[in-house]
Symmetry: C2
Subunit: 526 residues, 2 copies
């Protein structure tokens, strides 16, 4: 059936400038391969169903895809209120090779899929349920409405897979508390953009909102408020479940030894007491690396964390450790002497981080750490992932070269610090990043496993998160998913992103405008 | 009664650093004079009423204050669902000298008020209903809740009046269409900040959303969409009514002769046809100043506009006129010769604007124009108001000197182009503007009638309007209302503005955070 259809089609490699002539909207991010014809089918919400193919490994009862079908119906037919179905529906037949319907997406999950809209139906084939989710998203973006409200989908063929395995968004829930709905809404928008990792920078200096069952004082004393500004175990489970249904991993970060001021409130003795001369000043520095109790505490905390968060990776932080307080403390100085570190505090930091990575390894998790850990030449297992967050474009290229030369995998976040804002179309800056533009072998380039958009929380909370994130993060979303050669022009991307942003609005995502203009349906929120 | 109360009090001129010790929140913008004691009253929503004093000119039936009482009850008791009242209520007794309950606020409306909270009641006295509105806002901000949800108000005495008569916010509904709810919500927030002029930059090059009864083609052809992206006469009336109830004037701007591309679609012949050599190029420039039909059209349009908008001022625009197209057009060149303008096109622009100001005068309205009209030395009536929008700080001071020396009144907008954004706490920049810091006599300084926050729409629509506007515009709000000597320190203002921003959130205004921290009630919108 599909073969017959292909013959009828006028196949052409899509010329992107002419693309918008055929579709009102195209798929964002750009699929690896997409072609389409002028032929189109009218879709009637009352004659439209999703269906498992007879040979599919996933069948009715596959919670993940059953709920995806339910979700995508109103995403496709935005105006439509559910009604009974008629005969001869337009069918989206879904075929999955391996049905991990109750599992979690992980680092090696395939997200590839093939989609064919042809002969009055759509066929979606994927190795995994995660790939099927990506294909459903693409299908939903192929559907468009004309001026009379009728729905259409053009004959289309897509073969698609992500360029990078790790496509993350970081939210910071310590500098400002983000209510649960803001996190869930972000996960929705991430799935529309085919992001697949929610990096939850859950705690930091200002507050500790994670409600630990092992150490309840951490949030009861370290959160902005012990009951209204915390994430309970139920909240965390809800985030993980919501993410799972959208094929999104939840990567928890418990950053130490720096960035831990809020930890100290609920865990006395954890932080280093700073000294002024020979007396404690009353202030505290990073986690005390000289006390074995620090590592005992961390072992118990991470035992909990790694059981609560199912992902096989955990983020240990390790950035921006200020040595001033360590240097002031006589016990820490004594420990330095005993360990033979001399006065090189980077050795102390290394020692701390090595211990942390080993704790993680003992819990069968792989560690991700900020680049500082590499910069200080710590001895860390080679499967540790380094996370680049700082430097000029030149320094970033240098860092990419050095880290991959040492054989470590790397995630690139530095160019996508999206909390920073400028007046005008700064999405272009995020779009034109070339993650593999550094000196290195093919083997080195393969060690760049992806990138991440970081929304640090100094000036961001639920009031401005969405318009600051979308559609600016969508630019990074396409860079991380699509073929760079097919998506190198901001001029070509602009009208597609304008359309996609209107689609986000239509789905209730408060995405800000790119420039002068309008959407058929403007934002109707508060 | 009031006198007795005063004696009991420990009066003190408020030291602003210690202010937050007494109140959780203070009044924003800072009243001209405020003092308070540690004594406080518990407010019970079921025992609280607003009431007219027996001698007040306004009495029950005064629509404006009746509806303000209804509005302020839930603003004060945010958690409370209405119930029957108990005996012995806490009473806010309102006394108004002149009851213009059905009128509109205008340029010479007094907004001063006196508020005394004492002896278990509050007494609010104002010359006008507009002053009473400002006093109700201040009273509502004096009320705070403790950790158990109980409401309190401290004994307080306020004498207050605005520093500047004109405290405006410009919204641009041409570059992006703003749905009605976004405008109404902005008016709500303006009243919380004691802004009193909504400058509605309603049309411009990209679109003409104003649905004119005289020239319906202007919007049916010039709007982004003829039915979903227009402001009907009913919409406009609703905006004006909503503004009136909050003591806010609606200043309509129909900018010409430039910024009129969208006008040309529905009014053929209005714009100047541009020429390439000896033939029309197919593009159009500013309004054609050589055709008498242009002035006939404008007379009819402004006759409608000035009857729809009750304010005694109207904004004629007059900025950024590009002469290229005029120069290319042989008819315009012929007209120049005939009028003896030589090749000085500023004379042609002057001629056009003089005609426009005279049309306005004939309709009994006073014109406001952008500074360009002054810069080109046009002969305009001395009651015209100039609107400064451009230049470096030095140039702005020079412009203030020149315009006021020539005897014109002036509104300062240039320092408050709030659509421009920077990373970090840029509210400080808006807060520290000194509008009267220019060389000039006392008489000249008096000609500075106020300032305006401009939210141009290139990158702004309903998705990001609120968080971009608030609380950054609040900084300008205090500068324009309060005594500069009492509000010169950003360090003192910061905690007050942080509290005020939480109050805005609590009232449903999507105001973004100033820095790391939290509000007791976080934003619960989408």
């Amino acid at each position: 059936l599909a073969r017959r259809c292909y013959k009828q089609w006028l196949w052409f490699m899509v010329l992107f400038m002419s693309f918008s002539v055929i579709y009102v909207d195209a798929v964002w991010p750009m699929p690896q391969m997409i072609s389409s014809s002028m032929a189109r089918y009218t879709l009637n919400p009352r004659e439209f169903i999703f269906q498992y193919s007879s040979g599919s490994s996933a069948q009715p009862g596959c919670s993940l895809l059953d709920s995806a079908f339910e979700r995508y119906f109103p995403l496709i037919f935005t105006d439509y209120r559910h009604d009974e179905w008629f005969r001869f529906p337009f069918t989206v037949v879904v075929h999955v090779e391996r049905a991990e319907c109750e599992g979690y997406p992980d680092a090696d999950s395939s997200e590839s899929y093939k989609l064919s809209v042809c002969s009055g139906q759509a066929a979606l084939r994927a190795e995994t349920v995660w790939g099927a989710l990506r294909g459903l998203e693409s299908f939903s973006q192929l559907v468009y409405q004309d001026d009379f409200g009728e729905y259409f989908v053009n004959e289309t063929k897509i073969e698609d897979f992500p360029r990078f395995q790790f496509r993350g968004i970081l939210l910071d829930t310590s500098r400002h508390y983000l209510p649960l709905h803001a996190i869930l809404k972000t996960l929705d928008a991430m799935s529309y953009n085919k992001f697949n990792v929610f990096h939850w920078h859950i705690v930091d200096d200002p507050s500790f909102p994670y409600q630990s069952s092992t150490f309840p004082d951490l949030s009861s004393k370290g959160a902005f408020h012990p009951s209204t500004h915390v994430y309970t175990q139920i909240d965390v489970k809800r985030v993980i479940a919501h993410a799972r249904l959208r094929g999104i991993r939840v990567l928890a970060e418990f950053d130490s030894p720096g960035h831990t001021q809020s930890w100290g409130k609920g865990q006395p003795g954890l932080l280093t007491p700073c000294y002024k001369g020979t007396v404690p000043s009353g202030t505290f520095g990073p986690v005390n690396p000289a006390n074995s109790s620090s590592y005992q505490f961390m072992t118990r905390l991470f035992k909990e964390v790694t059981s609560v968060f199912p992902d096989s990776y955990v983020h240990l932080g390790g950035d921006e450790v200020d040595f001033t307080c360590w240097k002031s403390n006589p016990d820490v100085r004594g420990f330095m002497l005993k360990m033979g570190f001399g006065t090189d505090y980077t050795k102390l930091e290394s020692y701390y981080m090595e211990n942390m990575v080993n704790i993680t390894k003992g819990l069968n998790k792989t560690a991700i750490v900020w680049q500082d850990v590499f910069d200080y030449h710590e001895k860390i297992p080679v499967d540790t992932v380094l996370h680049i967050w700082k430097g000029s474009p030149g320094q970033i290229q240098q860092e990419l070269s050095s880290i991959t030369l040492a054989g470590y995998r790397v995630i690139l976040a530095a160019p996508w610090y999206i909390n920073h804002i400028d007046y005008g179309q700064d999405w272009e800056k995020y779009y034109t990043i070339q993650p593999l533009n550094f000196t290195g072998t093919e083997q080195q380039k393969k060690l760049v496993i992806g990138g991440e958009v970081c929304m640090w929380g100094e000036y961001v909370d639920a009031t401005n998160l969405s318009p600051r994130l979308w559609p600016r993060a969508s630019a990074a979303g396409e860079r991380l998913w699509s073929d760079e050669r097919m998506t190198s022009s901001v001029i070509d991307a602009f009208p597609r992103l304008v359309d996609f942003r209107c689609r986000l609005l239509r789905r209730g995502i408060q995405a800000e405008p790119l420039f002068v203009g309008h959407c058929r349906h403007e934002y109707q929120g508060i």
